[in-house]
Every structure is written in C-alpha cells, then in structure tokens.
Amino acid sequence: MALPTPPREPARRHHYLGDILSTIHSTAKGMALTMRYLWRKPVTMDYPKEKPVIDQRYRGIHVLDQQLCIYCDLCAKACPVDCIEMDAVRHGKEIEWKAFTLDYQKCMFCELCVYPCPKDCFIQGTEYSMVSEDRNDFVHDLLTWKGLREEEPS
C-alpha cells in the first residue's frame, strides 16, 4: 500500500527587503536569547570541590556486612561475569574469613549479586569514585577484618 504523500508546502516567495528584515528579526531574537542566557546561573557543578547528592538507590561500590554473611556463595554464583571471589573456613557456626574480593575491572554494576543474598548483608552503596593508576587496585577487598572474628578495638 502506498503511503499517503504529505501535502506539499507552497513554494516560499522571496522578497528582497522582506528577507533582509526577517533575517535581522530572527538574528536579533537569537542574540537577545543568548544575552539572557549569559546572565543565568550556570547549571554545572565544580565537581571535585562540590560533590553531587547521590540517591540511596544508586548502584555504586559494594558494601558487605561481614558479621551477617554466612559464606553461602550465592552472590558469587549470581554474578554474570564472575567477579566475586571468596574464601573462608567454617569452624562450626564460626567463619574464618580469608578473602572476599570484587574485581571492578569486570563488574558492570548490575546489582544481580545483591538480590540472592539470604541475609541482605551485601548491598551496593553510594560511593562511586574509584581512581588508581594500577589495575590491581580495582580488585577491591570487601573484608573489613580477616580471621575468626573481629578484633575488639582496644
């Protein structure tokens, strides 16, 4: 089926002086607009000095509550790119933590690792800035302490 052709616009008539006047008019309008914009408050932010407000739902760098974690490996299994590595030894109910790392060179911040956690102890925080000159620094250690239990701060 042929598409209906749009009605053709009537050819614009050119009037020498009319064209000049309309050019002046439209240019003046544009210039007035940019002049008004010149005095408006900038919408940008002076970034490193001024930090943006991050919403709580932001999918940033992960935070692990190590006290609650039961070393079930569900988060690591859920991750599509296999960037979570964990290692621990169980002593009955106690867990001796050896490693819990997340490789941010691979991570795509998809949040799929957060949903399966049975203890809700693994979330994505609001921290977003991670800068380094060394690739290995992006293998982020999520453990706050290692070993059998947290040392009491003396």
């Binding site: 000049i20 240019t27 544009g30 002049m35 914009y37 010149l38 900038p42 919408v43 940008t44």
Partner: protein, 347 residues
Amino acid sequence: MPGWLLTVWAAVVAMVVVFTFLTIMVMFSVWMERKVAGFIQHRVGPMRAGGFHGWAQSIADSIKLLFKEDLILIGADRKLFQIAPALVMATATAMFVVLPFAPGWQVADADLGVFLILALASVTTIGVIMAGWGSYNKWSVYGAMREAAQVASYEIPLALSLIPPILHYGTFSLATATEAQAGWGGMQWYVFSSAAPVAWLSFPLFFIAALAENKRAPFDLPEAESELVAGFHTEYTGIRFSFFFLEEYAAMFVMGAVGAALWFGGWNFPGIHLLEPGSALLQVLALFAFVAKAMALVFVMMWVRWTVPRLRIDQVMTLGYKYLTPLSMAVVLIAAFWEFGLHLIQD
C-alpha cells in the same frame, strides 16, 4: 648614532611592544571567549588554572602548544606549509602598526591606514589558502577552497562599508579620523555625528563583513570543525598552529579597533576635553577607552559566534553577493549624497 641604526632600533622597539600587547590581548581574548561560550551555555568555562575563574588557562595552553611536536606530512608542500603560518602571523602583527591607541601612541600614522589594514587582511586570506593547499589533506583543501570562494563575496562589502566614515572625515588615517571625533566633550563619535543615520546603516555591513574576513562564526567555513575536522589548519601542530590561533584573535581585535576608531570615537571618552592634552592621565585613559571599545566589539563577535549557526557556502555567497554588496553600494551612495547635503547646509 647613524640614521639607519635609529630606524632599526625604533622598529625593534615597536615590534617588541606590538608583539607583547598582541600576545597578552590574544590570551585574554581566548580566555574571554571560553568564558562567554560557557556562560551562554549555562556552563562556567575554565575554572582551575591559576585560581580565580581559570585566568591562567591561556598561559597554560600556550606553554603546552609551544612544547608540542612539530609535524609536517611527507606529501605536504613543505615550502607552502612553512611559509603560510609565518605569513598569516606577520600580517596580523603588521595590522597593529596603524592602530591609534591613544593620542600619539601609534607605531606609524600611515596616511592610508584603513587601506593598509584592508590590504593586509587580504594577505591573511592568501596565507590560509596556502596552508590548506600545502597540507596534503583533503579537508584542508576543502577549507582553503571555501576561503577562496568566500573571499571576494565579503572583501568588496568590507571595503565599501568603510567608505562612509572615510568620506565624512575626508581621511584614510585612523588617527586623523579619531581626532575629528573629539568634539562635544569627546562624544562626537561618527555614530552620533551629523551623519549618524549613515553611520548606523554602514556599521552593521562593516561588522558582518569583518566577521567573514576573520573567518568567525557564522562564516567559519574554512575551519568548520564539525565538517572538515579543523579545515585549513587540520595538519598544523604546535607553534605553527598557535600562529593561526593568534592570528584569528589578533584580526578580531584589529577589526574591532577599526570599528571603534571610525564609528565609535576611537580613544575619545566623555570628559576628554577637561584633561590637559598630552598628560599621562589622559594618555592612559584614552588607551583604556580605545582597548575597551575594541574589546566590546570583540565581545559582540563572540556573542554572535555562540548564537548564530554556521551558514552553508551557498548561503555565504548569497549573503555576500546578493545582499551585502548591493547594500554597501547603496550605503556609499547615500553617504555621498548625505555629505553633499551637509556641505550645502554649511555653506
């Protein structure tokens, strides 16, 4: 000291003064352009270098440019490629020679100052065409060809639109024309004088043609970074590129200065008749007034650049040949009859 040594000495001093002024002015203009562009787009422009609003940004940029590698393509026409930036830079600097900064503060009061500026501005165009042709790059050739096509369409209106003030003051010298506008306590500028209507008709024509002459938006077709990478200076790096950059802003200032000197009273400012002629205060205030007026016109050029989109080449030609040229001819005729009428009234 023998006479010729004195001449050489004077030339060296003049060169150093002009070049220092030009560099500082260009650095300031580049910074200003970025600030104006930023604020028009709700941004802030450079903020880091030097602290207050990134005032040292241009200094940092120029140091960076000086340390960049100097590249010449194997297929490039080395002679043209090397001469072009030098030619462009030399003509831009030479144009400063005839600008009247303050009473007596002018490197050379050439009788044909306006004519000299027009002639040198055309030589700049040749430099641009040389650069594009010698670069061995199709974008550069396109840029150069556009410049070549554009040049005749605005050079004629530019020259013609300068005739009304020249007719009114009967001189080609910028300093003499400025002195003639010193009446009424320094406010008898051409735009307020007895020929004011002609002045207001000719100034927009001059300004549009000057924009085209300086390859400024909306006439920046030889550069056209969105179509031609960087147009005629695509292949230039380091100091050679900085020469083109310097030339653009220097030429903007020169055009602004010519507009200020012929239409807006040059160094004259209200109250100039109260100060003793030749006193240091008058000189400094006059210099300030002249530079401020020229920079105000440069600001308008920037304002236009960040408002009006770039024209197509056929639109530039239409504007030049079908509108600016006949209109400037008409303005010259009107100016001639107006001056004739003024003479009749005075006699």
